[in-house]
């Protein structure tokens, strides 16, 4: 029985299709992680601003992204935007936008947490030795904040990679959907197909996410 199940993976182009699907997932993840890292740092710093208006504006952006499920954002950008503005955006582009919006909000909150967790005397000492506000951020606050940020940021990155499987609902076919296509085509003849297909998908996600965790661990050690 079991050897029939695994054969499903190697029928026709199936394995290649799974890899292509993984490519789609990874492309969306990489683009949105890069954008969210850059924008998230700026958002995080804005969230520590002295001005209440700036802080509450950032805060409402974060809350709006958090309380509305990601799936709804995907639908809003892909379907509703077209209906209202007649703006036809390609599905993968919509995925990049929505995941960047979400990643930026979450990363911003992590950065805010890391920055505010630093003792106040760090900033005060920086100012006292004559650094400008920008220099204090560049040389004192950010280098320390990034170290505190690392574990939770890596967690966010792997979460973003795995959450890309939602994009199938706006018609982007990624690795999990291709797995389901393979399972459904073979389920009647090979009932064990689902086990093997999910095992392969597990393995594919693992070889992507595990090195990221290893690299993070390595950095944490080096910076200690």
């Amino acid at each position: 029985m079991s050897d029939w199940g695994i054969n499903v993976i190697f029928q026709g182009q199936n394995f290649l299709r799974l890899l292509e699907g993984l490519g789609v997932s990874m492309r969306i993840a990489v683009v949105s992680v890069l954008i969210s890292s850059v924008c998230g740092i700026f958002l995080g710093l804005l969230m520590t601003s002295r001005y209440v208006a700036v802080r509450s504006l950032c805060r409402s952006y974060l809350e709006a992204v958090r309380i509305v499920p990601l799936l709804v954002w995907l639908f809003v950008f892909y379907f509703e935007l077209t209906k209202v503005l007649h703006l036809q955006l390609p599905a993968e582009f919509v995925a990049d936008i929505v995941f960047s919006i979400w990643g930026t909000a979450e990363m911003g909150d992590l950065v805010r947490g890391a920055v505010t967790s630093l003792p106040a005397h760090q900033r005060e000492s920086g100012l006292a030795v004559g650094l400008t506000r920008w220099q204090v951020y560049r040389y004192v606050i950010l280098p320390q904040a990034v170290r505190r940020l690392l574990p939770s940021a890596i967690n966010l990155v792997t979460r973003m990679i795995k959450t890309t499987s939602l994009v199938v609902l706006i018609g982007v076919v990624e690795v999990l959907k291709i797995g389901q296509q393979i399972i459904e085509v073979s389920i009647l003849k090979v009932p064990t197909a689902s086990f093997w297909v999910y095992a392969i998908i597990f393995f594919l996600y693992f070889i992507i996410c595990w090195p990221i965790s290893l690299w993070a661990k390595h950095l944490e050690k080096r910076w200690q």
Binding site: S56, A64, Y78, E80, T82, V84, H86, G171, K177
Partner: protein
């Protein structure tokens, strides 16, 4: 002073968040007006200019719409889509398949992502309010599959026995409403339900007749004792609400294809390999839109 600032911050946050949410809400309201206004008279011209007919199909519902091991779209719906492209644009490959999920079948039409939805789309009164259905090309009813040794050929045989159904399907509602004295064993997944039948946890299993036919064929020792039960549902092509030009064209096309028994040919090519001769084509196929 400080606490006053805090209160202000909380209120401001609340207001902004509401504004965001309201922004999304108003989108949903205005779209109704716009969709009916934007249905252009030259829908078919647009498709011809584009040179491609965009059709929403399933990618994981064999044998109706699925992707085969070489990554090609296949199935009963896909076969029909190729024919539509051939008749409209002169090339059966002038079709762009947009893979869709059950939940997004209405949205893809409303947002102009596709011209026609051919995704095993059952006609219901609720859906009719949102999209325009053309003449049907398929029909489904419930079927009951049971072990060949103890076949269930009539619903009365099920009294006092257990019947396996899937949660949320028409089978569940039909039996709960019409035969409350039959005990139902409910499962979430198709695979679980069929496994339960194999394990002998119930006397029979009820589901869409097309599905039980396909399953019985792959699993010797089981037969579909009741092939048609309950309300007959139809499956039809759908276009965007108000797109009368394309709707009329699809209706004409279904009538024309009926004259040459096209859907029987479609059945033989795509469904017969899955169902075998256990299914009579006339139990599933609708020709010329006439039941």
């Amino acid at each position: 002073m400080k606490s006053w600032k805090k209160v202000f911050a909380v209120i401001a946050t609340f207001v902004f968040t509401l504004a965001f949410a309201a922004g999304c809400g108003s989108d949903a309201q205005t779209d109704k007006v716009k969709t009916s206004a934007s249905s252009s008279a030259s829908a078919i011209e647009q498709i011809k200019q584009r040179g491609k007919l965009r059709v929403a199909v399933f990618s994981d519902k064999p044998p109706f719409g699925y992707v085969d091991q070489n990554g090609k779209n296949q199935g009963y719906d896909v076969y029909f889509a190729h024919r539509l492209a051939k008749d409209l644009l002169g090339d059966e490959n002038a079709v762009e398949f947009v893979l869709t999920e059950a939940a997004a079948r209405i949205e893809v039409l409303e947002a102009d992502k596709v011209d026609i939805t051919l995704a095993n789309f059952t006609v219901t009164p609720e859906r009719k309010e949102k999209v325009d259905f053309a003449a049907p090309y398929m029909k489904v009813a419930l079927g009951v599959v049971s072990p060949t040794g103890e076949p269930v050929t009539d619903v009365s045989q099920l009294k006092g026995k257990k019947l396996i159904v899937n949660k949320g399907t028409t089978a569940e509602t039909y039996f709960a409403k019409n035969y409350p004295d039959i005990e139902l064993l409910k499962y979430d997944q198709n695979t679980e339900a069929f496994q339960a039948l194999k394990d002998g946890r119930g006397a029979a299993l009820a589901h869409d007749n097309t599905l039980v036919f396909a399953w019985a064929r792959e699993n010797p020792g089981f037969t579909v004792g009741i092939t048609k039960l309950g309300d007959l549902d139809t499956i039809a092509p759908a276009v965007k609400k108000g797109n009368t030009e394309l709707l009329n064209w699809v209706n004409d096309e279904v009538t024309k294809l009926g004259a040459e028994n096209f859907f029987h040919k479609d059945f033989e090519t795509t469904l017969l390999p899955a169902y075998g001769d256990s299914v009579k084509p006339d139990d599933v196929v609708v020709e010329g839109g006439k039941l």
